[in-house]
Assembly symmetry: C2
Homo-oligomer: 308 residues x 2
Protein backbone atom coordinates (compact mmCIF):
# COMPACT_ATOMS: atom_id res chain seq x y z
CA UNK A 1 0.00 0.00 0.00
CA UNK A 2 1.44 3.39 -0.99
CA UNK A 3 1.91 5.89 1.83
CA UNK A 4 0.18 9.23 1.28
CA UNK A 5 0.79 11.43 4.32
CA UNK A 6 2.83 11.82 7.47
CA UNK A 7 0.54 13.09 10.23
CA UNK A 8 2.13 14.63 13.35
CA UNK A 9 0.36 15.07 16.66
CA UNK A 10 2.92 17.35 18.33
CA UNK A 11 1.87 18.42 21.77
CA UNK A 12 3.51 19.87 24.87
CA UNK A 13 4.86 16.55 26.15
CA UNK A 14 4.94 14.17 23.18
CA UNK A 15 5.34 13.86 19.43
CA UNK A 16 3.35 11.14 17.70
CA UNK A 17 3.85 10.40 14.02
CA UNK A 18 1.61 8.33 11.74
CA UNK A 19 2.35 7.17 8.21
CA UNK A 20 -1.04 7.03 6.46
CA UNK A 21 -2.31 5.04 3.50
CA UNK A 22 -4.71 6.36 0.78
CA UNK A 23 -7.67 5.68 3.09
CA UNK A 24 -6.15 7.59 5.98
CA UNK A 25 -5.36 4.41 7.89
CA UNK A 26 -2.14 4.05 9.78
CA UNK A 27 0.60 2.01 8.11
CA UNK A 28 3.07 2.66 10.88
CA UNK A 29 3.17 4.67 14.08
CA UNK A 30 6.04 6.16 16.06
CA UNK A 31 6.31 8.18 19.20
CA UNK A 32 8.92 10.41 20.77
CA UNK A 33 9.12 12.16 24.14
CA UNK A 34 10.29 15.31 22.34
CA UNK A 35 7.21 17.38 23.06
CA UNK A 36 7.25 21.08 22.23
CA UNK A 37 8.62 22.00 25.68
CA UNK A 38 11.56 19.63 25.29
CA UNK A 39 12.82 20.54 21.82
CA UNK A 40 16.23 22.23 22.33
CA UNK A 41 17.00 25.58 20.63
CA UNK A 42 14.03 25.45 18.31
CA UNK A 43 15.49 22.43 16.48
CA UNK A 44 12.10 21.05 15.50
CA UNK A 45 13.34 20.01 12.04
CA UNK A 46 16.13 17.84 13.44
CA UNK A 47 13.79 16.19 15.94
CA UNK A 48 11.36 15.44 13.14
CA UNK A 49 13.99 14.01 10.78
CA UNK A 50 15.34 11.88 13.58
CA UNK A 51 11.93 10.36 14.25
CA UNK A 52 10.79 9.78 10.66
CA UNK A 53 13.45 10.88 8.18
CA UNK A 54 13.43 7.36 6.72
CA UNK A 55 9.70 7.74 5.94
CA UNK A 56 10.42 10.97 4.08
CA UNK A 57 13.15 9.32 2.05
CA UNK A 58 11.15 6.21 1.28
CA UNK A 59 7.79 7.83 0.45
CA UNK A 60 8.30 11.56 -0.30
CA UNK A 61 4.86 12.41 1.04
CA UNK A 62 3.57 15.67 2.55
CA UNK A 63 3.57 16.31 6.29
CA UNK A 64 0.76 17.79 8.37
CA UNK A 65 0.89 18.68 12.09
CA UNK A 66 -1.46 19.86 14.78
CA UNK A 67 -1.20 20.73 18.46
CA UNK A 68 1.08 23.00 20.48
CA UNK A 69 3.69 22.86 17.72
CA UNK A 70 1.64 25.70 16.20
CA UNK A 71 1.72 27.86 19.35
CA UNK A 72 3.98 30.83 20.00
CA UNK A 73 6.25 28.52 22.02
CA UNK A 74 6.20 25.93 19.21
CA UNK A 75 7.86 25.68 15.81
CA UNK A 76 5.94 28.48 14.14
CA UNK A 77 2.77 30.22 15.25
CA UNK A 78 -0.25 29.08 13.27
CA UNK A 79 -2.74 31.91 13.90
CA UNK A 80 -6.08 31.12 15.55
CA UNK A 81 -9.04 30.88 13.18
CA UNK A 82 -12.22 32.61 14.42
CA UNK A 83 -15.41 30.67 15.15
CA UNK A 84 -17.77 29.91 13.54
CA UNK A 85 -15.18 27.80 11.69
CA UNK A 86 -15.33 24.94 9.23
CA UNK A 87 -12.87 22.18 8.41
CA UNK A 88 -12.58 23.66 4.91
CA UNK A 89 -11.58 27.08 6.31
CA UNK A 90 -8.99 25.48 8.57
CA UNK A 91 -7.59 23.59 5.57
CA UNK A 92 -7.23 26.91 3.74
CA UNK A 93 -5.27 28.36 6.68
CA UNK A 94 -2.51 25.84 7.21
CA UNK A 95 0.80 27.45 8.18
CA UNK A 96 3.82 26.30 6.20
CA UNK A 97 7.15 25.81 7.88
CA UNK A 98 10.30 24.79 5.97
CA UNK A 99 13.06 22.56 7.31
CA UNK A 100 16.12 20.67 6.12
CA UNK A 101 14.63 17.42 4.91
CA UNK A 102 16.73 14.46 3.79
CA UNK A 103 15.11 14.55 0.32
CA UNK A 104 13.49 17.21 -1.82
CA UNK A 105 9.69 17.46 -1.89
CA UNK A 106 9.20 16.77 1.82
CA UNK A 107 10.91 19.84 3.28
CA UNK A 108 7.71 21.48 4.47
CA UNK A 109 5.26 20.80 7.32
CA UNK A 110 1.73 22.21 7.21
CA UNK A 111 0.53 23.20 10.70
CA UNK A 112 -3.20 23.30 11.46
CA UNK A 113 -4.56 26.55 12.92
CA UNK A 114 -5.96 26.68 16.44
CA UNK A 115 -9.43 28.12 16.98
CA UNK A 116 -10.65 31.15 18.89
CA UNK A 117 -14.11 32.37 19.80
CA UNK A 118 -15.65 35.20 21.79
CA UNK A 119 -17.88 34.27 24.73
CA UNK A 120 -20.98 36.09 25.98
CA UNK A 121 -18.79 38.21 28.28
CA UNK A 122 -16.75 39.44 25.27
CA UNK A 123 -13.76 37.34 26.31
CA UNK A 124 -11.67 35.36 23.86
CA UNK A 125 -11.32 31.61 24.32
CA UNK A 126 -8.76 29.48 22.48
CA UNK A 127 -7.98 25.88 21.63
CA UNK A 128 -5.11 24.23 19.82
CA UNK A 129 -5.10 20.56 18.93
CA UNK A 130 -8.56 19.64 20.17
CA UNK A 131 -10.20 21.09 17.02
CA UNK A 132 -8.40 18.50 14.88
CA UNK A 133 -9.49 15.72 17.21
CA UNK A 134 -13.11 16.83 16.94
CA UNK A 135 -13.02 17.08 13.17
CA UNK A 136 -11.68 13.55 13.18
CA UNK A 137 -14.51 12.35 15.39
CA UNK A 138 -17.00 13.43 12.68
CA UNK A 139 -19.80 14.11 15.12
CA UNK A 140 -23.39 14.71 14.04
CA UNK A 141 -24.56 18.32 13.43
CA UNK A 142 -25.58 20.32 16.53
CA UNK A 143 -23.53 18.07 18.80
CA UNK A 144 -22.15 19.17 22.13
CA UNK A 145 -18.76 17.71 22.76
CA UNK A 146 -16.72 17.45 25.99
CA UNK A 147 -12.98 16.81 26.12
CA UNK A 148 -11.82 16.31 29.72
CA UNK A 149 -8.27 17.35 30.53
CA UNK A 150 -6.03 19.81 32.34
CA UNK A 151 -8.13 22.42 30.58
CA UNK A 152 -11.32 20.69 29.65
CA UNK A 153 -13.18 21.92 26.59
CA UNK A 154 -16.90 22.06 25.81
CA UNK A 155 -17.68 22.56 22.13
CA UNK A 156 -20.98 23.44 20.52
CA UNK A 157 -21.25 22.42 16.85
CA UNK A 158 -23.82 24.12 14.63
CA UNK A 159 -26.44 22.60 12.37
CA UNK A 160 -23.84 22.15 9.62
CA UNK A 161 -21.49 20.32 11.98
CA UNK A 162 -19.02 23.22 12.15
CA UNK A 163 -17.57 24.88 15.26
CA UNK A 164 -20.03 27.41 16.62
CA UNK A 165 -18.29 28.22 19.89
CA UNK A 166 -16.56 26.57 22.81
CA UNK A 167 -15.55 27.07 26.41
CA UNK A 168 -12.44 26.17 28.34
CA UNK A 169 -12.73 25.13 32.00
CA UNK A 170 -9.55 25.03 34.11
CA UNK A 171 -10.89 22.05 36.05
CA UNK A 172 -7.94 19.66 35.79
CA UNK A 173 -5.33 22.30 36.52
CA UNK A 174 -7.38 23.54 39.47
CA UNK A 175 -7.43 20.03 40.92
CA UNK A 176 -3.63 19.84 40.70
CA UNK A 177 -3.19 23.31 42.21
CA UNK A 178 -5.56 22.70 45.09
CA UNK A 179 -4.27 19.23 46.02
CA UNK A 180 -0.60 20.19 45.70
CA UNK A 181 -0.35 23.79 46.86
CA UNK A 182 -3.45 24.87 48.80
CA UNK A 183 -4.71 24.54 52.35
CA UNK A 184 -7.19 21.92 51.05
CA UNK A 185 -4.29 19.62 50.22
CA UNK A 186 -2.99 19.66 53.80
CA UNK A 187 -5.73 17.32 54.97
CA UNK A 188 -5.36 15.02 51.94
CA UNK A 189 -3.38 11.93 51.07
CA UNK A 190 -3.04 11.89 47.28
CA UNK A 191 -0.61 8.97 47.16
CA UNK A 192 -3.51 6.55 46.69
CA UNK A 193 -5.44 8.58 44.12
CA UNK A 194 -6.57 6.44 41.26
CA UNK A 195 -5.67 3.20 43.02
CA UNK A 196 -8.68 3.51 45.29
CA UNK A 197 -11.32 5.62 43.56
CA UNK A 198 -14.24 6.29 45.92
CA UNK A 199 -17.23 6.57 43.61
CA UNK A 200 -19.76 7.42 46.32
CA UNK A 201 -17.56 10.19 47.72
CA UNK A 202 -16.85 11.51 44.22
CA UNK A 203 -20.57 11.67 43.42
CA UNK A 204 -21.26 13.49 46.69
CA UNK A 205 -18.74 16.05 45.46
CA UNK A 206 -20.44 16.19 42.05
CA UNK A 207 -23.81 16.97 43.65
CA UNK A 208 -22.27 19.72 45.71
CA UNK A 209 -20.34 21.16 42.76
CA UNK A 210 -23.43 21.25 40.56
CA UNK A 211 -25.61 22.91 43.19
CA UNK A 212 -22.83 25.26 44.30
CA UNK A 213 -21.39 26.10 40.88
CA UNK A 214 -22.48 29.73 41.19
CA UNK A 215 -20.20 30.25 44.20
CA UNK A 216 -17.23 27.99 43.49
CA UNK A 217 -14.76 30.07 45.55
CA UNK A 218 -16.95 29.24 48.54
CA UNK A 219 -18.05 25.72 47.55
CA UNK A 220 -14.46 24.47 47.32
CA UNK A 221 -13.93 25.28 50.99
CA UNK A 222 -16.16 22.30 51.82
CA UNK A 223 -13.18 20.11 50.87
CA UNK A 224 -11.48 21.55 53.94
CA UNK A 225 -14.33 21.67 56.43
CA UNK A 226 -15.48 18.15 55.58
CA UNK A 227 -12.04 16.98 56.61
CA UNK A 228 -11.89 19.24 59.68
CA UNK A 229 -15.23 17.87 60.86
CA UNK A 230 -14.02 14.31 60.34
CA UNK A 231 -16.75 13.53 57.80
CA UNK A 232 -14.22 12.35 55.18
CA UNK A 233 -10.70 11.05 55.64
CA UNK A 234 -7.42 11.96 53.94
CA UNK A 235 -7.80 9.33 51.22
CA UNK A 236 -11.41 10.25 50.43
CA UNK A 237 -10.93 14.03 50.25
CA UNK A 238 -9.17 14.13 46.84
CA UNK A 239 -12.10 12.30 45.20
CA UNK A 240 -14.53 14.65 46.93
CA UNK A 241 -12.62 17.67 45.60
CA UNK A 242 -12.45 16.13 42.12
CA UNK A 243 -16.22 15.68 42.26
CA UNK A 244 -16.81 19.28 43.37
CA UNK A 245 -14.70 20.62 40.48
CA UNK A 246 -16.19 18.39 37.78
CA UNK A 247 -19.67 19.07 39.20
CA UNK A 248 -19.03 22.82 39.11
CA UNK A 249 -17.90 22.53 35.50
CA UNK A 250 -21.05 20.63 34.58
CA UNK A 251 -23.26 23.01 36.54
CA UNK A 252 -21.72 25.96 34.69
CA UNK A 253 -21.80 24.39 31.23
CA UNK A 254 -25.40 23.36 31.82
CA UNK A 255 -26.32 27.05 31.75
CA UNK A 256 -25.87 26.70 28.00
CA UNK A 257 -28.62 24.15 27.52
CA UNK A 258 -26.92 20.80 27.69
CA UNK A 259 -29.03 17.77 26.92
CA UNK A 260 -26.84 15.13 25.33
CA UNK A 261 -23.09 15.29 25.04
CA UNK A 262 -20.34 13.43 23.23
CA UNK A 263 -17.53 12.57 25.60
CA UNK A 264 -14.17 12.37 23.82
CA UNK A 265 -11.17 10.76 25.43
CA UNK A 266 -9.93 7.80 27.39
CA UNK A 267 -8.70 6.79 30.79
CA UNK A 268 -9.78 7.37 34.35
CA UNK A 269 -10.52 11.09 34.00
CA UNK A 270 -13.01 10.42 31.21
CA UNK A 271 -14.51 7.67 33.34
CA UNK A 272 -15.11 10.26 36.10
CA UNK A 273 -16.93 12.53 33.68
CA UNK A 274 -19.03 9.56 32.52
CA UNK A 275 -19.98 8.80 36.13
CA UNK A 276 -20.82 12.46 36.76
CA UNK A 277 -23.00 12.73 33.63
CA UNK A 278 -24.86 9.56 34.53
CA UNK A 279 -25.41 10.81 38.08
CA UNK A 280 -26.73 14.15 36.80
CA UNK A 281 -29.03 12.58 34.23
CA UNK A 282 -27.10 13.96 31.26
CA UNK A 283 -27.19 11.52 28.35
CA UNK A 284 -23.81 10.96 26.76
CA UNK A 285 -22.06 8.99 24.06
CA UNK A 286 -18.51 7.99 24.87
CA UNK A 287 -16.32 8.42 21.78
CA UNK A 288 -13.09 6.75 22.83
CA UNK A 289 -11.31 6.32 19.49
CA UNK A 290 -8.17 8.31 18.80
CA UNK A 291 -9.62 10.86 16.40
CA UNK A 292 -6.64 13.18 15.94
CA UNK A 293 -5.03 11.25 13.08
CA UNK A 294 -8.36 11.07 11.26
CA UNK A 295 -8.79 14.82 11.69
CA UNK A 296 -5.34 15.46 10.26
CA UNK A 297 -6.17 13.22 7.31
CA UNK A 298 -9.41 15.09 6.64
CA UNK A 299 -7.59 18.43 6.88
CA UNK A 300 -4.87 17.30 4.48
CA UNK A 301 -7.49 16.03 2.04
CA UNK A 302 -9.49 19.27 2.21
CA UNK A 303 -6.25 21.19 1.63
CA UNK A 304 -5.46 19.10 -1.45
CA UNK A 305 -2.28 17.71 0.11
CA UNK A 306 -3.40 14.18 -0.61
CA UNK A 307 -5.24 13.03 -3.73
CA UNK A 308 -7.99 10.52 -3.23
Amino acid sequence: MTAQLIALDWGTSNLRANLLDPYGHSLEQRQSAMGVMKVPNGEFGSVLVELCGDWMQAHRVPLIASGMVGSRQGWKEAPYLSCPATLKQAALHLTEVQFDAPVAGTNCVYIAPGLKCIDEHAQTDVMRGEETQIWGAQLPPSSICVLPGTHSKWIWLDAAGDFQNFKTFMTGEMYSLLTQHSILGRLMDISETGASFKLEVFLRGVSLGVSGHAEVLHTLFAARTTGLMGHLNAIELPDFLSGILIGAEIGSARLHAVKQVHLLGEGSLCERYAQAFQHQGIAFVHVSEQATTKGQWLLARAAGLVKV
Copy 2:
Protein backbone atom coordinates in the same frame (compact mmCIF):
# COMPACT_ATOMS: atom_id res chain seq x y z
CA MET B 1 -4.73 52.88 86.10
CA THR B 2 -5.13 49.28 87.27
CA ALA B 3 -4.72 46.61 84.60
CA GLN B 4 -7.70 44.23 84.29
CA LEU B 5 -6.96 41.76 81.49
CA ILE B 6 -4.27 40.43 79.18
CA ALA B 7 -5.81 39.96 75.71
CA LEU B 8 -3.97 37.72 73.23
CA ASP B 9 -4.56 37.76 69.48
CA TRP B 10 -2.66 34.57 68.63
CA GLY B 11 -2.81 33.76 64.94
CA THR B 12 -0.89 31.60 62.49
CA SER B 13 1.96 34.06 61.99
CA ASN B 14 1.93 36.43 64.96
CA LEU B 15 1.13 36.80 68.63
CA ARG B 16 -0.14 40.19 69.79
CA ALA B 17 -0.65 40.92 73.49
CA ASN B 18 -2.56 43.83 75.02
CA LEU B 19 -2.69 44.84 78.66
CA LEU B 20 -6.14 46.39 79.19
CA ASP B 21 -7.49 48.90 81.69
CA PRO B 22 -10.98 48.77 83.35
CA TYR B 23 -12.50 50.37 80.23
CA GLY B 24 -10.93 47.83 77.85
CA HIS B 25 -8.40 50.34 76.60
CA SER B 26 -4.84 49.33 75.93
CA LEU B 27 -2.26 50.27 78.55
CA GLU B 28 0.55 48.56 76.73
CA GLN B 29 0.95 46.48 73.62
CA ARG B 30 3.52 43.88 72.62
CA GLN B 31 4.02 41.69 69.60
CA SER B 32 5.97 38.53 68.84
CA ALA B 33 6.61 36.63 65.60
CA MET B 34 5.82 33.40 67.47
CA GLY B 35 2.63 32.61 65.59
CA VAL B 36 0.97 29.24 66.14
CA MET B 37 2.95 27.64 63.30
CA LYS B 38 6.27 28.72 64.81
CA VAL B 39 5.84 27.64 68.43
CA PRO B 40 8.30 24.74 68.96
CA ASN B 41 7.14 21.48 70.57
CA GLY B 42 3.85 22.89 71.76
CA GLU B 43 5.64 25.23 74.19
CA PHE B 44 2.90 27.85 74.10
CA GLY B 45 3.20 28.57 77.82
CA SER B 46 6.90 29.41 77.60
CA VAL B 47 6.35 31.67 74.61
CA LEU B 48 3.60 33.47 76.47
CA VAL B 49 5.61 33.94 79.65
CA GLU B 50 8.53 35.21 77.64
CA LEU B 51 6.38 37.87 75.99
CA CYS B 52 4.44 39.07 79.01
CA GLY B 53 5.47 37.20 82.13
CA ASP B 54 6.28 40.55 83.76
CA TRP B 55 2.66 41.68 83.22
CA MET B 56 1.45 38.53 84.98
CA GLN B 57 3.75 39.15 87.93
CA ALA B 58 2.93 42.83 88.19
CA HIS B 59 -0.86 42.66 87.73
CA ARG B 60 -2.09 39.07 88.34
CA VAL B 61 -4.94 39.53 85.87
CA PRO B 62 -6.78 36.91 83.79
CA LEU B 63 -5.76 36.06 80.21
CA ILE B 64 -8.03 35.65 77.21
CA ALA B 65 -7.00 34.54 73.71
CA SER B 66 -8.57 34.17 70.29
CA GLY B 67 -7.43 33.01 66.85
CA MET B 68 -5.66 29.92 65.56
CA VAL B 69 -4.29 29.25 69.06
CA GLY B 70 -7.64 27.51 69.58
CA SER B 71 -7.32 25.27 66.49
CA ARG B 72 -6.29 21.64 66.44
CA GLN B 73 -2.78 22.76 65.48
CA GLY B 74 -2.78 25.35 68.27
CA TRP B 75 -2.40 25.19 72.03
CA LYS B 76 -5.67 23.45 72.78
CA GLU B 77 -8.69 22.96 70.53
CA ALA B 78 -11.54 25.31 71.47
CA PRO B 79 -14.54 23.59 69.84
CA TYR B 80 -16.56 25.50 67.23
CA LEU B 81 -19.81 27.00 68.47
CA SER B 82 -22.78 26.54 66.12
CA CYS B 83 -24.57 29.48 64.51
CA PRO B 84 -26.84 31.21 65.26
CA ALA B 85 -24.43 32.28 68.01
CA THR B 86 -24.30 35.13 70.49
CA LEU B 87 -21.42 36.79 72.29
CA LYS B 88 -22.92 35.55 75.56
CA GLN B 89 -22.86 31.93 74.34
CA ALA B 90 -19.27 32.28 73.20
CA ALA B 91 -18.37 33.69 76.62
CA LEU B 92 -19.93 30.59 78.21
CA HIS B 93 -17.81 28.31 76.01
CA LEU B 94 -14.29 29.54 76.63
CA THR B 95 -11.73 26.73 76.71
CA GLU B 96 -9.35 26.77 79.67
CA VAL B 97 -5.73 25.84 79.27
CA GLN B 98 -3.27 25.71 82.15
CA PHE B 99 0.39 26.63 81.99
CA ASP B 100 3.36 27.29 84.26
CA ALA B 101 2.91 30.94 85.15
CA PRO B 102 5.46 32.93 87.11
CA VAL B 103 2.87 33.70 89.82
CA ALA B 104 -0.25 32.00 91.10
CA GLY B 105 -3.63 33.26 89.87
CA THR B 106 -2.58 33.80 86.28
CA ASN B 107 -1.77 30.23 85.26
CA CYS B 108 -4.74 29.85 82.95
CA VAL B 109 -5.64 31.23 79.52
CA TYR B 110 -9.26 31.28 78.31
CA ILE B 111 -9.50 30.60 74.58
CA ALA B 112 -12.49 31.88 72.58
CA PRO B 113 -14.41 29.30 70.53
CA GLY B 114 -14.47 29.49 66.75
CA LEU B 115 -17.84 29.44 64.97
CA LYS B 116 -19.39 26.98 62.55
CA CYS B 117 -22.52 27.11 60.45
CA ILE B 118 -24.25 24.96 57.85
CA ASP B 119 -24.83 26.45 54.40
CA GLU B 120 -27.80 25.85 52.07
CA HIS B 121 -25.93 22.92 50.50
CA ALA B 122 -25.66 21.23 53.93
CA GLN B 123 -21.92 21.96 54.11
CA THR B 124 -20.18 23.15 57.24
CA ASP B 125 -18.30 26.43 57.18
CA VAL B 126 -15.91 27.56 59.92
CA MET B 127 -14.15 30.64 61.24
CA ARG B 128 -11.66 31.18 64.03
CA GLY B 129 -10.56 34.63 65.13
CA GLU B 130 -12.78 36.71 62.86
CA GLU B 131 -15.78 36.21 65.16
CA THR B 132 -13.98 38.05 67.96
CA GLN B 133 -13.08 40.88 65.60
CA ILE B 134 -16.71 41.26 64.56
CA TRP B 135 -18.00 41.23 68.11
CA GLY B 136 -15.50 43.98 68.83
CA ALA B 137 -16.74 46.02 65.86
CA GLN B 138 -20.21 46.15 67.49
CA LEU B 139 -22.06 46.42 64.20
CA PRO B 140 -25.74 47.32 63.96
CA PRO B 141 -28.32 44.49 63.88
CA SER B 142 -28.91 42.81 60.49
CA SER B 143 -25.53 43.95 59.22
CA ILE B 144 -23.64 42.19 56.48
CA CYS B 145 -19.95 42.21 57.12
CA VAL B 146 -17.01 41.43 54.79
CA LEU B 147 -13.50 40.58 55.96
CA PRO B 148 -11.09 40.38 53.00
CA GLY B 149 -8.16 37.99 53.36
CA THR B 150 -6.56 34.76 52.24
CA HIS B 151 -9.95 33.26 53.02
CA SER B 152 -12.37 36.13 52.93
CA LYS B 153 -15.48 35.93 55.11
CA TRP B 154 -18.98 37.27 54.57
CA ILE B 155 -21.08 37.36 57.74
CA TRP B 156 -24.79 37.93 58.08
CA LEU B 157 -25.87 39.22 61.51
CA ASP B 158 -29.47 38.76 62.61
CA ALA B 159 -31.93 41.32 63.95
CA ALA B 160 -30.45 40.94 67.45
CA GLY B 161 -26.92 41.57 66.15
CA ASP B 162 -25.84 37.93 66.62
CA PHE B 163 -24.17 35.64 64.09
CA GLN B 164 -26.80 34.16 61.80
CA ASN B 165 -24.52 32.53 59.25
CA PHE B 166 -21.41 33.19 57.20
CA LYS B 167 -19.53 32.10 54.11
CA THR B 168 -15.86 31.61 53.40
CA PHE B 169 -14.48 32.43 49.94
CA MET B 170 -11.00 31.16 49.03
CA THR B 171 -10.36 34.29 46.96
CA GLY B 172 -7.00 35.38 48.35
CA GLU B 173 -5.52 31.91 48.38
CA MET B 174 -6.75 31.33 44.84
CA TYR B 175 -4.97 34.49 43.70
CA SER B 176 -1.71 33.22 45.20
CA LEU B 177 -2.13 29.76 43.69
CA LEU B 178 -2.97 31.03 40.23
CA THR B 179 -0.23 33.67 40.03
CA GLN B 180 2.45 31.41 41.49
CA HIS B 181 1.70 27.93 40.23
CA SER B 182 -0.74 27.98 37.31
CA ILE B 183 -0.49 28.51 33.56
CA LEU B 184 -2.07 31.95 34.13
CA GLY B 185 1.02 33.03 36.04
CA ARG B 186 3.33 32.26 33.11
CA LEU B 187 2.25 35.38 31.26
CA MET B 188 2.43 37.56 34.38
CA ASP B 189 5.01 39.71 36.08
CA ILE B 190 4.06 39.88 39.77
CA SER B 191 7.21 41.66 40.92
CA GLU B 192 5.47 45.02 40.51
CA THR B 193 2.18 44.07 42.16
CA GLY B 194 1.06 46.67 44.61
CA ALA B 195 3.65 49.21 43.48
CA SER B 196 1.72 49.90 40.29
CA PHE B 197 -1.94 49.07 40.91
CA LYS B 198 -3.91 49.42 37.66
CA LEU B 199 -7.38 50.45 38.79
CA GLU B 200 -8.98 50.46 35.34
CA VAL B 201 -7.66 46.95 34.58
CA PHE B 202 -8.72 45.71 38.03
CA LEU B 203 -12.27 47.04 37.51
CA ARG B 204 -12.45 45.41 34.08
CA GLY B 205 -11.67 42.16 35.91
CA VAL B 206 -14.33 42.91 38.53
CA SER B 207 -17.01 43.37 35.85
CA LEU B 208 -16.02 40.10 34.22
CA GLY B 209 -15.90 38.24 37.55
CA VAL B 210 -19.32 39.49 38.58
CA SER B 211 -20.96 38.61 35.26
CA GLY B 212 -19.08 35.30 34.97
CA HIS B 213 -19.33 34.23 38.63
CA ALA B 214 -21.54 31.27 37.72
CA GLU B 215 -18.77 29.71 35.63
CA VAL B 216 -15.58 30.70 37.44
CA LEU B 217 -13.55 27.73 36.19
CA HIS B 218 -14.11 29.12 32.70
CA THR B 219 -14.05 32.84 33.50
CA LEU B 220 -10.56 32.64 35.02
CA PHE B 221 -9.18 31.44 31.69
CA ALA B 222 -9.69 34.98 30.37
CA ALA B 223 -6.61 35.93 32.41
CA ARG B 224 -4.65 33.74 30.01
CA THR B 225 -6.32 34.54 26.69
CA THR B 226 -6.27 38.29 27.35
CA GLY B 227 -2.50 37.98 27.62
CA LEU B 228 -2.20 35.63 24.63
CA MET B 229 -4.16 38.09 22.49
CA GLY B 230 -1.93 40.94 23.62
CA HIS B 231 -4.84 42.87 25.17
CA LEU B 232 -3.09 43.18 28.54
CA ASN B 233 0.59 43.00 29.39
CA ALA B 234 2.49 41.03 32.01
CA ILE B 235 2.25 43.78 34.63
CA GLU B 236 -1.48 44.36 34.11
CA LEU B 237 -2.56 40.71 34.17
CA PRO B 238 -2.22 40.19 37.96
CA ASP B 239 -4.61 43.11 38.64
CA PHE B 240 -7.02 41.75 36.03
CA LEU B 241 -6.97 38.33 37.72
CA SER B 242 -7.39 39.92 41.15
CA GLY B 243 -10.44 41.76 39.77
CA ILE B 244 -11.94 38.59 38.30
CA LEU B 245 -11.60 36.76 41.62
CA ILE B 246 -12.95 39.56 43.81
CA GLY B 247 -15.72 40.15 41.25
CA ALA B 248 -16.63 36.46 41.30
CA GLU B 249 -16.76 36.56 45.11
CA ILE B 250 -19.06 39.57 45.03
CA GLY B 251 -21.22 38.07 42.27
CA SER B 252 -21.64 34.91 44.33
CA ALA B 253 -22.27 36.63 47.66
CA ARG B 254 -24.79 38.90 45.97
CA LEU B 255 -27.00 35.85 45.49
CA HIS B 256 -27.73 36.26 49.17
CA ALA B 257 -29.27 39.70 48.90
CA VAL B 258 -26.48 42.13 49.53
CA LYS B 259 -27.42 45.78 49.77
CA GLN B 260 -25.06 47.49 52.16
CA VAL B 261 -21.97 45.92 53.68
CA HIS B 262 -19.51 46.72 56.44
CA LEU B 263 -15.97 46.27 55.21
CA LEU B 264 -13.59 45.29 58.02
CA GLY B 265 -9.86 45.52 57.64
CA GLU B 266 -7.02 47.64 56.43
CA GLY B 267 -4.44 47.86 53.70
CA SER B 268 -4.38 47.51 49.95
CA LEU B 269 -6.55 44.37 49.77
CA CYS B 270 -9.37 46.16 51.62
CA GLU B 271 -8.91 49.09 49.28
CA ARG B 272 -9.48 46.76 46.32
CA TYR B 273 -12.73 45.54 47.82
CA ALA B 274 -13.79 49.12 48.41
CA GLN B 275 -13.11 49.95 44.75
CA ALA B 276 -15.01 46.86 43.62
CA PHE B 277 -18.03 47.66 45.82
CA GLN B 278 -18.13 51.22 44.57
CA HIS B 279 -17.90 50.04 40.96
CA GLN B 280 -20.72 47.56 41.50
CA GLY B 281 -22.96 50.05 43.25
CA ILE B 282 -22.83 48.25 46.59
CA ALA B 283 -22.97 50.73 49.46
CA PHE B 284 -20.37 50.07 52.13
CA VAL B 285 -19.03 51.41 55.39
CA HIS B 286 -15.32 50.93 55.90
CA VAL B 287 -14.63 49.91 59.51
CA SER B 288 -10.86 50.12 59.74
CA GLU B 289 -10.31 50.07 63.51
CA GLN B 290 -8.60 47.11 65.09
CA ALA B 291 -11.62 45.46 66.67
CA THR B 292 -10.09 42.23 67.94
CA THR B 293 -8.96 43.57 71.31
CA LYS B 294 -12.36 45.13 71.89
CA GLY B 295 -14.01 41.81 71.10
CA GLN B 296 -11.77 40.01 73.55
CA TRP B 297 -12.62 42.58 76.21
CA LEU B 298 -16.35 42.12 75.60
CA LEU B 299 -15.98 38.33 75.76
CA ALA B 300 -14.01 38.51 79.00
CA ARG B 301 -16.60 40.84 80.51
CA ALA B 302 -19.50 38.59 79.43
CA ALA B 303 -17.63 35.62 80.94
CA GLY B 304 -17.19 37.46 84.23
CA LEU B 305 -13.40 37.42 83.97
CA VAL B 306 -13.27 41.15 84.52
CA LYS B 307 -15.45 43.11 86.91
CA VAL B 308 -16.73 46.43 85.69
